[in-house]
Point group: C2
DNA sequence: TTTATATTTGACCAGTTGGTCAAAGTGAGG
DNA sequence: CCTCACTTTGACCAACTGGTCAAATATAAA
C-alpha cells in the first residue's frame, strides 16, 4: 500500500511541514503564501508542490499530525490513580507542550478561532468521545468524594485555556511580564489553582 | 479640529466598522477582503474607501475602539472593596463580554496570536501600566491576608484565558457540549474556581 | 556506462486583491 | 431653482497568489 519513501522524500517532506508549521502558525492559513513556506523550507515553489499537491494539503497534513499529539495525553489520565495528581499532571503536561511547541498551539488556535473549517468534524467526533470518557471518570471521582464537586467539562476547558494561553497569547504575556520568565510562575499558579479547586476538604 | 460629521458619514462609518468586525474576526486580517467587508456593509468598495482610506485603516479603527472597552473594566476594580467579590465580579464581567461580544474577543485573539503587529506597543505601554497597578492592589490584599497567597499576574492571565476561551474557542466548546448551553455552567465553574483559590482559610 | 525513475526548475497563467480616478449623482442651504 | 460640497460608482490597474508544465538535472540500480 504505502510506497517506500526515499531519503530525499523524507527530508523534504519534513522540511516542508516544519516550514508550514512556522509560517501558518504565525500568519494563519490565508496570510501564508506558498512562496513564504517554500522559502522557509529551502525549496522552490514548484518543487514543494511536487511533494504536497496544494497549500491545503500541507495545512491538512499539519493538522492531522497535530490532532494526534493533542488527543493522546488525555487518554493517559489513569482512572485508578490519585485524582488530584492525575489532573495536575495533565495540566503540567499541557503547559510543557505550550512551552515547547507554541507554534502547534497557535496553529490549532487559529484553526478554531476561524470556525474549525478543516477539523470541525474531528472535534464533534473523536475529541468529543475522548472528553466524554474523561468527564465520566471525573464524575466518578466526584461521586466517590475524592475531589470536590466540579463540572468536568468546564474543568477541562479551564485547564486547556489556562495552559494554552501561555503559547497563544505569548506576546501579551511577555508584554506584561517584561523580562520575567512566564513559565516559572505559571506552573506554580496553575498547580495551586487546581489543588485548591479539587482537593477535598478534610 | 474635528469636522462635524454628517448623518450619512455616521451611518456609513458605523456600518463599515460593524462589517469589518464581523469579517475580520471570522477570517483574520489577511483572510478578509475589502469586497467581503463592503458587501457586508452594503456599500461599493470605492465608496467604502471614501470613508476609510485603506483596509489597514478599518482594522486599526476597530482595534482602537476595542482596546478601550478592553482596558476600562480593569480600572473599575475597587481596592477598597471586598477582594474576592471584586475579582469574581471582574471575571463575571469578562465572561459576559465573551458571551455578548465574541467577535471583539476573536478579533483581539487573532491580532495577539499573530504577534500583535498593530497593538504591540499598546500592550507594552498602557496595558502593562494598568495591570501593574492591579497587581499592586492584589499584592496588598495578599499582604493583608484578605485573600490567599497568589501571583497577581498569573491570576489575571487565568481570568482572561478562562473567560475568553468561551468566545475564542466557541466552536470547540460547542462541539464538546453539544446542545448544552456553555455559559450556564461556565459562570458557576469560574466563580467556584476563583472562590476556592482566593477565599482565605478560616 | 546505461537507463529508468525521481527530483528540480524557469517560465508562465488566470484569478484575486487592494487601491485609484474621473465622472456622475445627490442633498441641503441660499 | 441654483449651487457647491458631499457621496457614489464603473472602469481600471499593478502586484500578488496558487498552481501548471515541459524541459532539464540528479540519482540509484543494473
Amino acid at each position: 500500500m504505502n510506497k517506500p519513501e526515499t531519503r530525499i522524500q523524507k527530508k523534504n517532506q519534513s522540511a516542508i511541514l516544519a516550514a508550514g508549521l512556522k509560517v501558518f502558525s504565525q500568519y494563519g492559513f490565508h496570510g501564508s503564501t506558498l512562496d513564504k513556506i517554500a522559502d522557509e523550507a529551502g525549496l522552490s515553489k514548484p518543487n514543494m508542490l511536487y511533494y504536497f499537491s496544494s497549500k491545503d494539503a500541507i495545512y491538512k497534513a499539519l493538522l492531522a499530525r497535530l490532532l494526534e499529539s493533542w488527543l493522546e495525553p488525555v487518554t493517559h489520565i489513569d482512572p485508578a490513580g490519585d485524582p488530584v495528581e492525575e489532573l495536575v499532571n495533565y495540566a503540567k503536561l499541557k503547559l510543557t507542550m505550550s512551552q515547547h511547541y507554541p507554534n502547534e498551539s497557535r496553529l490549532f488556535a487559529n484553526e478554531i478561532i476561524q470556525g474549525a473549517p478543516q477539523i470541525g468534524d474531528v472535534l464533534r467526533g473523536e475529541l468529543r468521545t475522548v472528553i466524554d470518557q474523561l468527564a465520566h471518570v471525573i464524575d466518578g471521582w466526584v461521586s466517590a468524594g475524592r475531589i470536590q464537586p466540579v463540572d468536568p467539562y468546564h474543568l477541562v476547558f479551564s485547564i486547556w485555556s489556562m495552559t494554552q494561553h501561555y503559547a497563544d497569547f505569548d506576546v501579551q504575556v511577555r508584554a506584561i511580564l517584561g523580562d520575567r520568565d512566564p513559565m516559572a510562575g505559571a506552573e506554580m499558579h496553575i498547580e495551586n489553582m487546581l489543588r485548591r479547586m479539587l482537593t477535598p476538604e478534610p
